[in-house]
C-alpha cells in the first residue's frame, strides 16, 4: 500500500503504554508484544488519523537531527511495517474526498 496517500490511525483494538523512551504495544487478540524505540514512539504519539506520512516526516525532521529525505524514507518504512503488523489501520475515506 502506498503510505504517502493514506491517512493512518492506531488500531483501536491495541493496548499501549509509553515507558522510558520506548512504547510497548500489546495486541490482545494475538497475545503479541511490540516495542517502538524513541523515534518510533515519537511517530506513534503523532499518528492521530489526521497526518499524512509527509506531515509526520516533517515533524520528525523538526525534532530529531535527521534530514527531511531520510525522515520521509524512515517514516514511510515504519508506517508500512506497523501496517503489516496491524498496529495501524487506514482512516476510512469520507465523502469521496481524497488527499
Amino acid at each position: 500500500m502506498n503510505t504517502t496517500s493514506v491517512l493512518w490511525q492506531k488500531n483501536p483494538a491495541l493496548a499501549w503504554r509509553e515507558i522510558d523512551d520506548a512504547t510497548v504495544i500489546i495486541s490482545p487478540s494475538e497475545s503479541v508484544m511490540h516495542e517502538l524505540n524513541d523515534t518510533g514512539s515519537f511517530l506513534w504519539k503523532n499518528i492521530d488519523g489526521h497526518k499524512s506520512a509527509e506531515e509526520l516526516a516533517a515533524l520528525l525532521a523538526e525534532n530529531y537531527e535527521v534530514t527531511p529525505d531520510t525522515a520521509l524514507t524512515d517514516t514511510q518504512s515504519l508506517l508500512e511495517e506497523m501496517s503489516s503488523r496491524k498496529l495501524l489501520v487506514p482512516v476510512p475515506a469520507t465523502g469521496g474526498e481524497l488527499r
Binding site: 483494538a13 493496548a15 503504554r17 515507558i19 522510558d20 510497548v24 490482545p28 497475545s31 508484544m33 516495542e35
Partner: protein, 267 residues
C-alpha cells in the same frame, strides 16, 4: 382433590444432593465456591486449606449448577480441556469441572481477570520472603524458579510457581498462592512488601544487574498470566504492569545452582 407441587430449593440440584460451599481468599480476593460433587469438594478443601477464609461480599462461583442468567452476555469466558468459565454481571460459573486440576486452572484464570480491576496481577514467579521483604524471581519454565525456592533455607517460600503482586496502601506486596509448582507444596498464605523483581538466568557465576523499567516490563510480559483478549482489560493490565516496573526495582539475576546467590542480592 387438592393439587400439590414440590418446589426445589435453589441449593438442591436434580439429584437432590446438597451443595457445599468453600470460601477462600487469595491475595485478599475472596471467593465462595458452591458445588455438589462431594469428591471434588473434599479434594478442593484439602488443596486450598491454607487459603480458607470467609469474607464479606465474596465472588460467588457456581459449579455445574442451575444458571440464573444464561441469557446474560458474558463479560469474560474461558475454556480449558472441556471445562468452561463464564462470568457475567450476575454470576460466575464453572462448568464441566471433573477434577481439582480443572478447578485449579479455572480459578487461576478467574483470579487473573479479577485482579486487573484490583491493581494486581499473577506472574510465573517464585517468591521468597527474607527479613520481611519479598524477593520475586521470574522466568520461563526451566529458568530456575523452583531451584531458587529450594535454595532459600533462611526464607519463607510464598510460592515456587505463581506469585500474586498487588498494589495496596501505597506499596506493592507479594502474596502466596495455592497454585503449586515442582516444590509440591501449597504456597504460604501470607504477604510482604516487594524488595525487587528478578529476571532469572542460570549462569556459572552469581551476578545481579539493575534493569531499566522497559527491560523489566519486557521480562515480565511473557510470564504474566492473563487470558482476556478484550482490549480494555489488556489496557488495564498494561497500566498495572507499567506502574509496577516504575516503582519496583528490577534486576537481572545470573545465578548458579547454589544458595550463594543470596549474597549478591540487594538487602
Amino acid at each position: 382433590m387438592e393439587s400439590r407441587s414440590i418446589l426445589n430449593a435453589p441449593d438442591a440440584n436434580s439429584r437432590g444432593a446438597r451443595k457445599q460451599q468453600l470460601e477462600l481468599s487469595i491475595g485478599c480476593v475472596p471467593f465462595r465456591l458452591q458445588m455438589s460433587d462431594r469428591q471434588l469438594f473434599r479434594a478442593a478443601a484439602s488443596r486450598y486449606a491454607a487459603f480458607a477464609a470467609a469474607a464479606a461480599r465474596p465472588i460467588h462461583i457456581t459449579l455445574d449448577g442451575y444458571s440464573k442468567s444464561e441469557s446474560q452476555p458474558a463479560e469474560f469466558r474461558y475454556e480449558f480441556e472441556g471445562a468452561a468459565l463464564r462470568a457475567s454481571s450476575q454470576e460466575t460459573r464453572f462448568d464441566g469441572v471433573r477434577n481439582e486440576y480443572a478447578l485449579d486452572s479455572l480459578l487461576r484464570v478467574l483470579l487473573s481477570w479479577k485482579l486487573a480491576t484490583r491493581h494486581g496481577f499473577l506472574l510465573h514467579a517464585a517468591t521468597v520472603v527474607r527479613a520481611g521483604k519479598a524477593y520475586v524471581f521470574t522466568g520461563r519454565s526451566g529458568a530456575g524458579k523452583s531451584t531458587v525456592a529450594s535454595l532459600a533455607p533462611m526464607g519463607t517460600v510464598l510460592t515456587d510457581e505463581i506469585s500474586l503482586l498487588r498494589f495496596e496502601n501505597r506499596e506493592w506486596r507479594a502474596y502466596g498462592t495455592p497454585f503449586w509448582g515442582e516444590f509440591r507444596a501449597a504456597g504460604a498464605n501470607t504477604s510482604a512488601p516487594v524488595r525487587g523483581l528478578f529476571r532469572l538466568v542460570q549462569a556459572a557465576e552469581n551476578r545481579v544487574t539493575p534493569l531499566r523499567p522497559v527491560e523489566m516490563l519486557r521480562a515480565l510480559l511473557p510470564n504474566v498470566l492473563f487470558f482476556s483478549a478484550e482490549t480494555e482489560a489488556n489496557r488495564r493490565l498494561l497500566k498495572i504492569l507499567s506502574d509496577a516496573v516504575d516503582s519496583i526495582s528490577g534486576y537481572g539475576l545470573a545465578f548458579r545452582k547454589d544458595a550463594a546467590f543470596w549474597e549478591v542480592l540487594p538487602k
